[in-house]
């Protein structure tokens, strides 16, 4: 087969696949930029995936069916916001240690999604989901068209979130506050920024994005829901934030690297290259570690106060 075509296929599958990771990682980036380490991303994604799916399931065949994906997306984002709020309550207001609270949130989200789906849905069921929406004209561009311009609207949205996140983080007053609150919350506080409020806002935004990432999985990628649909992608998203050094562009790079490596390993399996498939499956994970190990140490550093609760009364 034509090598270029193989490459095109790998990319055409890998690129849309990265969206879920990208959305979740960008959301986590906002959390961490504001100083909150949210290991519960996975749980929020599970809830997002479930609630994104549920309206399509319930409204199947009904008059409202065409609107179901949109309703699902809204529900997923809303659930993300609420779980973000809950996490804020625990880690910002109550100042609980974030790592352990994140694991709690992950269990809560995953468990709730699984329990509710058992009750309201039953077994694994497909839904119409969101179809690809090739952009007229652009999708016909050779090579690039099928890769970049033949995704679902949800996919375009995911990639659009990269420049938007960049703009929000670096070019808006709110982004300024977020960065300040994650690096030197006391300074931000003395300058009149409400640290808790800003962290809550970042958590709600991050939660919404993780919820959307989950909805992307159930609505655009799998078009179904099962309780283990997220399958660890939330943790990978958290790792990608470190890989991407808290910068939207590098996070995009990390998500693409991971997803393309993923579709590459599937492609070599499909091509029938003879070696144990387990090693193919490992490839993306190994690659991400290697790239980070040998990438030159960049000046971009993590938020200094990442993971530390802020207490105005406490001495610096």
């Amino acid at each position: 087969m034509n090598l270029l075509l193989v490459l095109q296929n790998i990319l055409a599958i890998g690129v849309p696949f990265s969206v879920a990771l990208l959305l979740a990682a960008l959301g986590e980036m906002f959390n961490q930029r504001a100083g909150v380490f949210n290991l519960g991303c996975e749980g929020i994604m599970a809830m997002g995936a479930f609630l994104g799916f549920l309206p399509s399931f319930l409204l199947k065949g009904g008059a409202l069916a065409p609107w179901a994906p949109a309703i699902g997306i809204a529900c997923a984002a809303l659930a993300g916001v609420l779980l973000g709020l809950l996490f804020g309550l625990v880690t910002v207001s109550f100042r609980a240690p974030q790592g352990i609270a994140g694991i709690g949130l992950q269990m809560l989200g995953w468990g709730t999604a699984g329990t509710l789906s058992r009750h309201f849905v039953g077994g694994v069921t497909g839904i119409p989901g969101i179809d690809a929406w090739p952009i007229p004209g652009l999708s016909k561009i050779p090579f690039l068209g099928p890769i970049l311009f033949s995704m679902t609207p949800f996919g375009y949205f995911g990639f659009l979130m990269v420049p938007i996140s960049w703009y929000v983080l670096f070019k808006t007053p709110w982004g300024l506050k977020v960065r300040a609150v994650g690096t030197h919350p006391r300074a931000a506080d003395t300058m009149g920024t409400n640290v808790a409020r800003t962290r809550y806002q970042a958590l709600m935004l991050g939660g919404a994005m993780a919820g959307l990432a989950g909805a992307y999985l159930s609505l655009a990628q799998a078009k179904m829901f099962a309780d283990d649909i997220v399958a660890g992608r939330g943790f990978i998203a958290v790792a990608l934030v470190y890989f991407g050094r808290w910068h939207p562009l590098y996070i995009l790079g990390g998500s693409l690297l991971f997803s393309i490596a993923q579709s590459f390993q599937l492609a070599i399996q499909v091509l029938g290259i003879d070696f144990p498939y387990e090693f193919a499956v490992m490839l993306p994970y190994v690659l991400v570690i290697l790239v980070l190990a040998f990438a030159k140490n960049s000046r971009l550093r993590g938020p200094a106060e990442l993971g530390k609760p802020y207490n105005r009364e406490k001495r610096v």
Partner: protein
């Protein structure tokens, strides 16, 4: 609220009480600052000065007491409220976000200066320029804070506060990190500003208090111990009032008992974090029984020299020798073993492990020595006995030697470090800004110890910006400028003017003609 008034003519606090777990930080404090006044607030470390000011800034909520502005009561729930009322504060620790530019820092604090939806730094830059011209405070709006020297950051703090439109200024130890010239300039500037706005000024240096303030209030253990006009009292009086006893900072008076060279640094080249040569061929020698003062504006390579001496920064070329042993290239452990003592710049994070007990911190460098360990096992009893003894000998004030060292006051933390370093019987000691931010009692104590060390024949390298400290204690003073030692002069020949000129980079010949 007093927001509408365009001047603050009077700020008054009444009966402010603030408790922290285990401490009564402010105990029914009342004071008043009127128009045209500069109130100096002095007191030992931990007297409650910062706490009181943070209450005025809305950062802490008082347990009891009231604040009045222009006669009407106000209540500050957040710093925003205090800003809105026109109070601005330069904090004891920099309140600047290091990975942002000056303009971004200013924009962070003021809604008008940043735009609503799009970050617009134009207004912030303009305001910064305006303020820095008006008060003659040179500040580059687009420099990143982490790139600035401590003195520059201090300036930025002040500019930032003024940019927010303060009508009443609080300055919490603004001079503790400044060079003498910078201090003088700041004091002059503040004196001029008292005409525009009243201010509260906190300092441990009575000379500054005398120079700037017209009123002085002394706090002791959270209570007002004294209030009066500055002009009526001498520095010595104030010092006595503050500490409860007469303070006399010791001087290096005994005769030159220097032996041979113990610590020798030759042609040292070291890179900074940013990659350029922070030390560019520096050489100096410290003899046994000598205190060599190293003067210089901070950011001229002191940090890197200190790091290189501790073995934490590798030298690109050149040598460091201690009593004949070559130290460059050795690991910190080996350097410590060779007899190097060290008092680091940042006592909170470099000098102690804050969550460790006082006792543990006192053995931080020797926990594995036979004295404190039997094979792989710690001898906790020995460590505690050692701690009890050092606590007594060095007058470390802590509830018990099991308390976490991080909860001690700055002066006492410094005593812990000093006790640890001196008790090890070092051949040479590097002391980096050892009295920065300490009250007079602690300063006196530390000076005495350094002089004792000198008499015992230790080579002491004292890195400081305090000219008085340097001139009082040193045998010789070296001046560092842009990574090189510009000159080394005997302390008797040093004057403030001469040192100041050298620190500004003027070579001796030029200095003479200038």
């Amino acid at each position: 609220m007093a927001k509408n008034a365009d001047r603050i003519t009077e700020l008054r606090v009444e009966g402010i009480t603030k408790r922290f777990p285990g401490t009564l930080a402010c105990d029914a404090i009342s004071l008043r600052v009127g128009e045209g006044e500069a109130l100096a607030l002095v007191g030992e470390n931990g007297a409650g000065k910062t706490t009181l000011m943070n209450i005025l800034m809305g950062l802490y909520q008082p347990d009891e007491g009231k604040i009045f502005i222009n006669g009407s009561p106000v209540r500050f729930r957040t710093p925003n409220d205090a800003y809105a009322a026109g109070i601005g504060m330069v904090h004891q620790h920099f309140m600047l976000v290091p990975n942002m530019t000056v303009a971004e820092n200013v924009a962070l604090g003021s809604a008008e200066l940043r735009g609503r939806f799009r970050l617009n730094l134009g207004a912030a830059r303009a305001r910064i320029r305006q303020i820095s011209e008006r008060y003659g405070l040179a500040v580059l709006p687009d420099a990143y804070v982490w790139q600035l020297s401590v003195g520059e950051q201090q300036r930025v703090e002040l500019v930032k506060t003024l940019c927010f439109g303060a009508k009443f200024l609080i300055l919490d130890e603004p001079t503790s990190a400044l060079t003498p010239q910078e201090t003088d300039e700041l004091i002059a500037l503040l004196s001029r500003m008292t005409a525009d706005m009243p201010l509260i000024f906190i300092s441990h240096k009575l000379a500054e208090v005398k120079a700037l303030s017209n009123k002085v209030t002394i706090l002791r253990a959270g209570r007002v111990a004294f209030s009066g006009d500055t002009a009526d009292h001498s520095s010595a009086d104030l010092a006595a009032l503050m500490t409860g006893h007469e303070v006399k900072l010791p001087c290096n008076e005994c005769a030159d008992g220097c032996g041979e060279t113990l610590l020798a640094v030759r042609d040292l080249k070291v890179r900074s974090d940013r990659g350029h040569y922070a030390l560019d061929g520096a050489s100096l020698e410290v003899r046994a029984g000598e205190i060599l003062g190293l003067a210089g504006v901070s950011g001229n390579g002191q940090r890197e020299l200190a790091d290189a001496l501790a073995g934490l920064r590798s030298a690109e070329s050149g040598s460091i020798a201690l009593a004949g042993t070559e130290l460059s290239g050795l690991a910190p452990r080996q350097i410590i073993g060779a007899g190097m003592g060290y008092i680091p710049e940042d006592r909170q994070t470099e000098g102690i492990v804050p969550s460790f007990s006082v006792s543990e911190n006192l053995t931080l460098k020797d926990f594995a020595s036979p004295r404190f360990a039997a094979g792989p096992f710690l001898r906790l009893k020995a460590a505690d006995a050692n701690a009890a003894e050092l606590k007594k000998r060095y007058d470390i004030r802590c509830p018990s030697t099991a308390t976490p060292a991080g909860s001690l006051s700055g002066g006492n933390i410094q005593k812990v470090i000093l006790a640890r370093e001196l008790a090890r019987g070092p051949k040479a000691l590097v002391a980096v800004y050892p009295t920065r931010g300490l009250d007079m009692g602690a300063e006196e104590f530390i000076h005495k110890r350094l002089l004792e060390l000198r008499c015992e024949g230790v080579a002491v390298l004292l890195i400081s910006e305090e000219l008085d400290e340097l001139m009082n204690l040193s045998d010789r003073i070296a001046v560092i400028y842009k990574g090189r030692i510009l000159a080394t002069i005997p302390a008797q020949e040093a004057t403030r003017a001469r040192l100041g000129a050298l620190m500004a980079g003027l070579r001796e010949e030029e200095g003479a003609t200038a």
